[in-house]
C-alpha cells in the first residue's frame, strides 16, 4: 500500500486498473479528461496488455468499450455528462443486453456548471436506462468505487455507471493505493462459449427477445435495489439523504454546528436503484429531505422533500454555502452570513491563438451582419469579439449553417451564414450535417479551425496524430480528403497567420457561394500554440506600439481581443503586455493606423 496525493480522476484510473479493467475508451470533456491519460501512464509503467485511448466521439467510444466487454475483457468508457447524451443509444440498449465481463460507464457531471452547456445529472440518465450508479463522496471513494463498479457489473452482468462530479474528479486527497498485483493475460472469447445459442438471443435480439431482456433487466435492478444498504450517521429527528460530494459538505456542517442530535445523515453509495421497502425505516423521522446534485434522483425514488418543494435550489452547484442555507431554512442555524461574490474576468483565446487570426479575417470579409454559427471548443470564446452567435452542442454549427441558410432562402432573403467548428469537433459530429448540406445543396461557408489537438480539454490527440501514447504508428486522417469525398467542390486549406491569403480565400469563397447552391469549406490550419511543438514552430515577430501612431481606437482590444494587448486608461493608448505576448506578430495586421510595428 502506498500513499499518493491523487486527483479523483487519477484515483478512478487506478481503481479501474486494480479492478482488472484492460480496455478503456472515451472522448475528452472537462472534468473527465484526465482518466485516460492516467490509465495510459499505468499501462506504460507496468507494461500491461491493454487498450486505452480516445475515440472519435462518445457513442463510438461506448460501443467499442462495450463490445470489448462482450468479448470477455473488463472494460470502461469515460466521458463528461453531455457526452453521455451522444452515447445515449448504446447506453440504453446495453442495459437490456447486459454484459459478459465487467463494464463501467464513467460519466463526470459539472454542477455549476463550471465548463459545460448543461448541469444535467448522469444519475438521472442511469435511472432512465435502468443502470445502477455509484456516486463517490470523496477522492478515496472514487478509487474504491471504480473497483466496486466492476465487481457489481460482473455479479449482475449489467453495465454499471460510476458518476463523478467536478469536485471529486478535480479534487485531490491523499489516497492509499494498493500495490499493483494483477495478471497480465487477456482471454477473449465470444462465439466459443458453451451456451452460445442462449447468448445469441441477447447479442442479436429481435423485438420479442428484447421484451424478455427488459424483464430480466427489471429482475436485476430489483435484486441490486434489495441489496443496496444505506449508511447512517448521527442521531437526529430530521433525516437528510445524500450521495456524492454533497454528503461530505453536510457531514462537515453537522460537525461544525454541533447538529449531531438534530440530523440523521443517510449516505447512499448507490443512489439508484433504491427499494422503497428497504427504506421503510425513514418513516419514523419528522422530516425526510434529499440533498443531492443536480436532479432529484433519491428524492423521486423515496418521495422525500428536496428540490420539488423548493427547500433545495432547483439549479446550481450545491456548495457548502448552499448546504448552510438549507440548514438555515430548516431552522437549525441562525445568522448565516451572506456575501456578494464579485464577478471574475471572462476567459479569452490565448495570445497568439490562430483561431483569433482566422476569425479576424472572416469578420473583415463577411462583417457583422453575417450569422456566425459557433460550436464547442476554444473558439466558443470568439463570443468575446462578436464572431460567434450560437453555441448549442458538438456539431450543431454545421446543422445550423444548413438551417439558417435554408430558412433565409425560403424567405427569399440574402444572408451570409458562416459555420465555425474545430478539427476534433468536426470529426466528432460535424461530418453527418455536412453530408446533408451537400445532398440538399445548401450554400453556407464552413470554417474548420484545425489546430491538430483537442485544445480546450487539455490537448488530447486527434485523428491527425501520427502515433499513440506508446509511440506506435497510427494512420492519420485528412480533413480535406473527407470533405472532398463528400462532394464539396470548394475546399481550401489556409494558414490563418497568412493574412493576405486568408482574405483572398475568404473572398473567393464568398463569390463561390453567390454563384453556387452548395456549401464551401475552408480549413484554417495552424498548430495550437498551447502545445510544445506549436509554440516552438510559431513565428517569432516581436512587436511594439508606436505611441504617436496609436489613436486609442481600441480595434485591437475589441475586434481582436488578444490578452497581450492591454489598454492604458490614463494614456488612452494600447500597450503590449510582454509577460503574455508570444510574439506571433499577427496584430501588425490589425491596427488601422499602423501603430503596432516590429521591434
Amino acid at each position: 500500500m502506498s500513499k499518493f496525493y491523487f486527483s479523483g480522476n487519477e484515483a478512478i484510473a487506478h481503481g479501474l486498473i486494480h479492478g482488472g479493467v484492460r480496455f478503456i475508451t472515451g472522448y475528452p470533456g472537462t472534468p473527465s479528461s484526465e482518466i485516460i491519460p492516467a490509465v495510459q501512464s499505468l499501462i506504460k509503467q507496468f507494461s500491461l496488455k491493454a487498450f486505452a485511448d480516445w475515440s472519435i466521439n462518445e457513442k463510438v467510444a461506448y460501443e467499442i468499450a462495450y463490445g470489448a466487454c462482450l468479448a470477455n475483457i473488463k472494460s470502461a468508457v469515460t466521458m463528461k455528462q453531455v457526452g453521455l447524451n451522444v452515447a445515449m443509444d448504446p447506453f440504453m440498449n446495453s442495459a437490456y443486453v447486459g454484459t459478459v465481463a465487467g463494464f463501467v460507464v464513467i460519466s463526470v457531471d459539472d454542477p455549476g456548471p463550471h465548463s459545460s452547456q448543461t448541469e444535467q445529472d448522469s444519475r438521472f440518465m442511469a435511472m432512465a436506462a435502468k443502470i445502477p450508479v455509484l456516486d463517490p463522496s470523496t477522492v478515496e471513494e472514487a478509487y474504491e468505487f471504480a473497483q466496486k463498479a466492476i465487481e457489481l457489473s460482473e455479479k449482475f452482468s449489467i453495465p454499471v455507471m460510476l458518476r463523478s462530479t467536478t469536485r471529486i474528479s478535480h479534487g485531490r486527497a491523499i489516497v492509499d493505493i494498493k500495490d499493483f498485483e494483477s495478471s497480465n493475460t487477456i482471454q477473449p472469447h465470444f462465439k466459443s462459449s458453451k451456451d452460445w445459442s442462449k447468448q445469441l438471443s441477447r447479442f442479436a435480439a429481435t423485438p420479442k427477445q428484447r421484451l424478455e431482456l427488459h424483464r430480466l433487466l427489471n429482475e436485476k435492478i430489483e435484486k441490486i435495489a434489495a441489496q443496496n444498504k444505506p449508511k447512517l450517521f448521527f442521531n437526529g429527528e430530521i433525516l437528510v439523504l445524500s450521495s456524492g460530494a454533497v454528503f461530505a459538505y453536510i457531514y462537515e456542517l453537522i460537525e461544525e454546528y454541533g447538529l449531531q442530535d438534530k440530523i440523521t445523515l443517510c449516505k447512499l453509495d448507490i443512489p439508484y436503484p433504491l427499494s422503497k421497502e428497504k427504506f421503510n425505516f425513514i418513516e419514523k423521522f419528522n422530516r425526510i429531505i434529499s440533498v443531492e446534485e443536480t436532479y432529484p434522483v433519491i428524492e423521486l425514488q423515496l418521495d422525500t422533500e428536496g428540490r420539488r418543494n423548493g427547500l433545495v435550489p432547483k439549479q446550481g452547484e450545491i456548495t457548502p454555502e448552499v448546504c448552510e442555507e438549507i440548514l438555515e431554512k430548516l431552522g437549525l442555524i441562525k445568522n448565516r452570513k451572506t456575501l456578494q461574490i464579485p464577478p471574475l474576468k471572462r476567459p479569452s483565446l490565448c495570445p497568439g491563438c490562430a483561431h483569433r487570426a482566422a476569425l479576424f479575417s472572416v469578420k473583415k470579409i463577411f462583417g457583422k451582419k453575417a450569422i456566425y454559427a459557433g460550436d464547442i471548443g476554444c473558439y466558443t470564446l470568439a463570443l468575446n469579439f462578436e464572431a460567434t452567435d450560437t453555441v448549442l452542442n458538438m456539431g450543431a454549427s454545421v446543422s445550423f449553417g444548413f438551417a439558417f441558410s435554408k430558412a433565409f432562402e425560403l424567405g427569399n432573403k440574402k444572408q451570409d451564414v458562416i459555420s465555425i467548428i474545430g478539427d476534433s469537433t468536426f470529426f466528432h459530429s460535424g461530418i453527418p450535417p455536412l453530408i446533408d448540406a451537400v445532398h440538399y445543396r445548401v450554400p453556407f461557408l464552413l470554417l474548420i479551425l484545425d489546430n491538430q489537438t483537442v485544445a480546450m480539454t487539455g490537448n488530447q490527440k486527434t485523428l491527425s496524430t501520427p502515433h499513440d501514447f506508446l509511440g506506435q504508428p497510427l494512420k492519420t486522417v485528412s480533413i480535406e480528403d473527407i470533405v472532398k469525398s463528400l462532394g464539396v467542390n470548394f475546399i481550401k486549406v489556409v494558414d490563418p497567420y497568412d493574412f493576405q491569403n486568408s482574405l483572398n480565400t475568404l473572398k473567393e469563397a464568398k463569390e463561390f457561394l453567390k454563384k453556387n447552391n452548395e456549401p464551401a469549406v475552408i480549413v484554417f490550419r495552424h498548430l495550437c500554440i498551447n502545445t510544445k511543438q506549436g509554440l516552438q514552430n510559431n513565428p517569432k515577430i516581436p512587436v511594439k506600439i508606436e505611441k504617436e501612431l496609436c489613436k486609442g481606437c481600441m480595434i485591437c482590444i475589441k475586434e481582436f481581443e488578444c490578452p497581450a494587448i492591454v489598454f492604458d486608461d490614463e494614456e488612452k493608448k494600447a500597450n503590449i503586455d510582454k509577460t503574455l505576448c508570444i510574439s506571433c506578430g499577427f496584430c501588425i495586421n490589425v491596427c488601422p493606423t499602423k501603430a503596432i510595428t516590429l521591434i
Binding site: P31, A173, A248, E321, I341, C350, L381
Partner: protein, 157 residues
C-alpha cells in the same frame, strides 16, 4: 487549516498548491483540495481550496479560510469573500522573482517567500520535495526574505 490559493492561468498556481499539499502531507494525516481550472489556459482564474488535517471535502466555505494566498492582485475582492487573512506578494518581491529566475520558476521563488514568511512549513521540508531547478529558485526566495531588511516578519494581513 483551511487555505485558498488564487491566481491566473499560466502563473503556476496549481504547481504552487501541490507543493504546499505535499509539504502539508508530511505534517497532517489528511490533505484535501479542489481545483477550478477549466478556463485556466485562457487567462481565467485558477482557484484552489485546501483543507489540511480536517474535513471530508476539499472545499472551503466563504468567510472561513484561515489564509488566502493571492498570486494575482486584481482578484483581491474575490479573495476577501473567503477570509480576511490575505497573503499577497509585494511588487518588489514579484519584480525580484522575475529578475532572478526564468519565468517558469517564478512560482517557486514566490513559494520560498511564502514559506519563509508564514513559517507554516519548514523551508528544508519543502525544498526536499522539489527538483533541482525548482529547489534553487525556492531557496533564492527563502533567502530573499531572510536577508532583506524589514522583510523578516509575516505581513500581508
Amino acid at each position: 487549516m483551511k487555505l485558498v490559493i488564487l491566481g491566473k492561468g499560466g502563473q503556476g498556481v496549481i504547481f504552487f498548491s501541490r507543493i504546499i499539499a505535499q509539504a502539508a502531507s508530511k505534517k497532517a494525516v489528511s490533505v484535501r483540495s479542489t481545483e477550478i481550472k477549466g478556463m485556466a489556459k485562457k487567462g481565467g482564474t485558477v482557484e484552489i481550496q485546501m483543507k489540511i488535517g480536517e474535513g471530508l471535502s476539499g472545499l472551503v466555505r466563504r468567510g472561513t479560510a484561515d489564509m488566502v494566498i493571492l498570486l494575482s492582485e486584481d482578484l483581491i475582492d474575490y479573495a476577501k469573500t473567503f477570509g480576511s487573512n490575505i497573503f499577497m506578494f509585494t511588487k518588489e518581491e514579484i519584480e525580484k522573482a522575475l529578475s532572478s529566475v526564468p519565468m517558469r520558476y517564478v512560482n517557486t521563488f514566490l513559494l520560498g517567500i511564502f514559506v519563509k514568511k508564514t513559517k507554516i512549513f519548514d523551508c528544508d521540508d519543502v525544498s526536499k520535495i522539489l527538483d533541482e531547478e525548482n529547489k534553487k529558485s525556492f531557496l533564492m526566495g527563502c533567502n530573499y526574505v531572510q536577508f532583506s531588511p524589514g522583510n523578516s516578519s509575516e505581513r500581508g494581513n
